[in-house]
Structure formats: structure tokens, C-alpha cells
């Protein structure tokens, strides 16, 4: 799902913004995603991420979650529909 319909790109309605946090522990290592922080401003988001990860990071990056284009992922709707369809089929056999 990479379009603007992606619910993960929708802005929050409570006046805050979500920031994906990326961390590199040592210079030779790749950047890793370590979750997200939600805060009313970029400065507060930076402060939060620093408090949570500073000890482990040689570099920290923050990126607004609503700016991230995501390809692939865990298609929950597909899983849920498949399981429900499975239930219906089983019910059918039972009857």
C-alpha cells in the first residue's frame, strides 16, 4: 500500500504528530527503525527520542510518519477476510 489512502499516513487529530525513529548504534552498522514517538512539535519529538535512545545511538533520525511511503507490510484485512471465508466454508460443510 503506497497511496495516500494508506491509513498509516493519515494525520492524527489530537494536534500531535507521529515521528518514525531510526537509529545507528555504531558507524559501521546500518540505520534501524526503532519505533515512533508522538509529540506536539518536532522539538519535543526529538527530546523524547533522545531520552529513549541516546545511550544506544551514534546517530538518530526522525521522520514524520505521514510523509513515509510504505510498500508491503502486514495485510491484516486480507488475513481477516481469508480467515472469515474459511469459517464460512467450515460452517457450510458442517451443516
Amino acid at each position: 500500500m503506497a497511496s495516500d489512502d494508506d491509513p498509516r499516513r493519515k494525520p492524527r487529530i489530537d494536534g500531535s504528530r507521529q515521528w518514525e525513529v531510526f537509529l545507528r548504534e555504531r558507524s559501521a552498522e546500518p540505520m534501524r527503525h526503532v519505533g515512533s514517538v508522538t509529540a506536539p512539535s518536532a522539538d519535543i519529538a526529538t527530546e523524547q527520542a533522545t531520552t529513549l535512545f541516546d545511550y544506544a545511538a551514534s546517530a538518530l533520525w526522525l521522520c514524520p510518519a505521514d510523509e513515509v511511503r510504505r510498500l508491503g507490510g502486514n495485510d491484516l484485512a486480507e488475513k481477516g477476510r481469508a480467515e472469515s471465508a474459511g469459517d464460512a466454508r467450515t460452517e457450510g460443510v458442517r451443516q
Binding site: 548504534e25 514517538v37 523524547q48 531520552t51 502486514n74 491484516l76 481477516g80
Partner: protein, 398 residues
């Protein structure tokens, strides 16, 4: 959750296997063994028909974008069932504003996950209670935070108290196990006992008391949190009240939630009131229980699918179930925060580092520590134990 009625009165309950690895053969258990997977709180929606002062989810009436659809919710439940999650707590916002709630509870119990509900109770009609019961719901916890006037002020709506009690009666009338959820603050500590008496007369026999955590709007009213002395008074009163009820042959179940300094304090109380041997037994139960469960035995998935370390800690998310399955997110200890929280004994500082009750408390709430001092492993400002109780002998002055 610390079961006061079990520890002080030996009352058995269906959560004993899950919580203390001590299942009672006569009572059907949620799990026979202590849980290995977390109980998951799912904030099904951010919408709510009330506007409570202490809401950690910051819920209100506006529809929120990005809520999991019915099909996505079923996909989430599949993931949780595959990961062997023992219990899913349908929470909110107010879960009853979701029209598919009964369908999802039904789906959840079909997949072998125990379904329980956290609600303000005001939307539970008798028909709804019956439908939830038929769908396999095991338990409804209804929030009431004081007697009528105080509760209605706190919850931002006149008539909320009466509506909640009506909801409780509707659940009980269809034989759905129902309990009280009560968040203790400076404003309502005085009402605790009267609320228990009133609801016991209605037929409620399970009472959960929550300490205030500093997430969502709970953070805005941190000033209304009880000071040390008031905490001790409230907790003591709950211990005494539980024993008084049991002495009368009325077996209420009472639980404390959200501050594991209570574990330490119940041992101290038992030492004083019940003797050393009993206190040691209680201490052992609490060691098995393992102290504060954040990031281990409890998890939260919010209405957008973000996974949190507890339901109160909404400002940080480990990842989103639309990106990876819940189990993959929860098992990923390459996240240094998750890894450190799970070995927090090595990192605790201040008074928690030297406390003799670290084994049953584990520093209590990391979220409150963060809010209090900005130090993730600093002391929990809500810890009310004296230095002597913590086992620290003050240095003699020179």
C-alpha cells in the same frame, strides 16, 4: 495486577494460574501456568461518548482516521491467536461505540483467545449485554470513579454514574461477570469504600483499583495524584476493607493495579498484621508474579494499530501491526529500549537500585519515572515506601 483478596485472605480466583502459577483445582483457570505471552489491551476506537479527566487514550467524540476496519481487526486477532496471547482486553475510547464489537468478541473467542471488556458502562443495554455474553465475553470491567456527583464531574457528563450502574445491572442480569474499575486520585479517594458498598449491594464482587499513570490526559492531572501519606492511607484502607468483608463471609475479590510498590507494601502490612510466616508466603507469590509487567506481560495495540509497551504509554510505539505481525514486533529485541526494559534490574538508579523489594516491584512505572525526572530508569515518583521499608539504613551523620 496484585490480588489483595488472594494474598491477604487466600481467596482463589480464575486468574491465579496466570498470575501466580498457582491454579486452584476447583476453579476453571484462564491459564494453568504463569503466562509467557502478554495480555493485550486493544484500544478498539478513540471515540467515546464521555470526556473523562484522566483518560490515557485522550479519547473524545470526533471520529478518528485510521481506525482498524472490521476485516483488519480480525486479521489482528488472528495474529494474536497465532502468537498464543491468552487474553484480549477490548478497550477504547469506549468500545461499545464500535458497531462490530459483538462480531469481534465472537471472532476472538472462536480463535481461542479469552475476551474481556473495559467500558464506561453507559451504553450497555440488557440486549447488548446478552449479545456480548452469547459471543463469549468472559468479563466486563466498568469504570466508576466516585459517588454520583464526583463521578459525573470527573467523567464530564451528568447522569454518567446512574447510566454506569444501569449497565452493570444489565450485565449481571444476563450472568456476565462484571467488576468495578476505579482510578484513585486525590479527588475521589474518600468515596472508595462507599462505592464498594453500593456496588456490592448491586451484586458486584470484583473491584479493581488503579493508580493514576501519567499518560494521555492522566498526565495533565498528575497534580491530582495522591501524595505518599494519602497513598498509604488508601491502600491500607483497601487491605482492611478486604479483610473485613471476608471476615463477614462476603468474599469480594479486590485488586490493585498500576503501582508495584503496593507489592512491597502488602508484604510489610502482612508482616505487621498476619505474622512473619504468612508475610514470607505472600512475598513468594509476588516473586512468581514478577512485578511491573510493562513491555513483557502486558502490551497495548491502539486504534491505529500502533503497539505500545503498556496502554498508558501512548507517546511511544514499538511498531505498527499494519507493517509487521504483533508477535514479530514484540519479539524484536534488536530494539534497545525493549531489551533494556526487559532487563531493567541492571539499569535502575536511585532508590530503586538498592531497594529490598526490587524482586516484586522492579521499579514500578517507567512512564511515571520518565515524567517525574526525565530518566527512564530513575525512581517512580509514586513510590511511597519509607527508607526503612526499602531496607536502607540511613548513613549516620558525621
Amino acid at each position: 495486577m496484585i490480588s489483595i483478596s488472594k494474598l491477604l485472605c487466600g481467596q482463589t480466583a480464575e486468574g491465579d494460574g496466570l498470575r501466580y502459577d498457582d491454579p486452584d483445582a476447583d476453579i476453571e483457570q484462564i491459564r494453568e501456568e504463569k503466562q509467557k505471552r502478554p495480555v493485550v489491551v486493544w484500544n478498539t476506537t478513540r471515540r467515546c461518548n464521555l470526556y473523562c479527566e484522566h483518560c490515557y487514550a485522550g479519547a473524545d467524540l470526533d471520529p478518528a482516521q485510521g481506525e482498524l476496519s472490521t476485516a483488519e481487526a480480525k486479521g489482528l486477532i488472528d495474529d494474536l491467536a497465532d502468537y498464543d496471547v491468552p487474553v484480549l482486553l477490548f478497550s477504547g475510547g469506549e468500545p461499545l461505540v464500535r458497531e462490530d464489537l459483538v462480531e469481534l468478541v465472537d471472532y476472538c473467542t472462536d480463535r481461542g483467545v479469552r475476551a474481556v471488556l473495559s467500558t464506561n458502562g453507559t451504553l450497555i443495554t440488557e440486549e447488548k449485554a446478552q449479545a456480548l455474553k452469547d459471543a463469549g465475553l468472559s468479563y466486563a470491567g466498568v469504570s466508576v470513579d466516585g459517588l454520583q456527583e464526583r463521578n459525573d464531574r470527573f467523567r464530564g457528563k451528568d447522569g454518567a454514574f446512574e447510566a454506569a450502574v444501569r449497565g452493570i445491572k444489565n450485565c449481571l442480569s444476563v450472568d456476565l461477570k462484571t467488576g468495578l474499575r476505579y482510578t484513585i486520585t486525590e479527588h475521589n479517594a474518600a468515596d472508595m469504600e462507599d462505592v464498594v458498598d453500593l456496588l456490592y449491594d448491586v451484586g458486584v464482587d470484583r473491584f479493581c483499583f488503579y493508580h493514576l499513570d501519567y499518560g494521555g490526559r492522566g498526565g495533565d492531572i498528575a497534580d491530582a495524584d495522591l501524595d505518599d501519606e494519602a497513598q498509604r492511607r488508601a491502600v491500607n484502607r483497601l487491605f482492611d476493607m478486604t479483610r473485613e468483608y471476608h471476615a463477614e463471609g462476603e468474599e469480594i475479590e479486590t485488586l490493585l493495579v498500576g503501582n508495584y510498590a503496593d507489592s512491597a507494601y502488602v508484604v510489610e502490612y502482612a508482616e505487621e498484621e498476619l505474622g512473619h510466616e504468612r508475610a514470607e508466603e505472600i512475598h513468594q507469590y509476588l516473586r512468581v508474579n514478577g512485578g511491573d509487567p510493562t513491555g513483557e506481560r502486558v502490551a497495548d495495540v491502539d486504534y491505529r494499530g500502533d503497539v505500545h509497551l503498556t496502554q498508558f504509554w501512548q507517546s511511544y510505539s514499538l511498531g505498527n501491526v499494519r507493517d509487521r505481525s504483533f508477535g514479530d514486533i514484540w519479539d524484536d529485541e534488536s530494539n534497545p529500549l525493549l531489551a533494556r526494559l526487559r532487563e531493567r534490574e541492571e539499569h535502575l538508579t536511585g532508590k530503586c537500585a538498592s531497594c529490598q523489594y526490587q524482586d516484586v516491584c522492579r521499579g514500578s512505572s517507567r512512564l511515571r519515572a520518565l515524567a517525574g525526572s526525565g530518566d527512564l530508569f530513575g525512581p517512580d515518583p509514586q513510590c511511597y515506601l519509607t527508607a526503612e521499608e526499602r531496607g536502607v539504613t540511613p548513613e549516620p551523620a558525621d
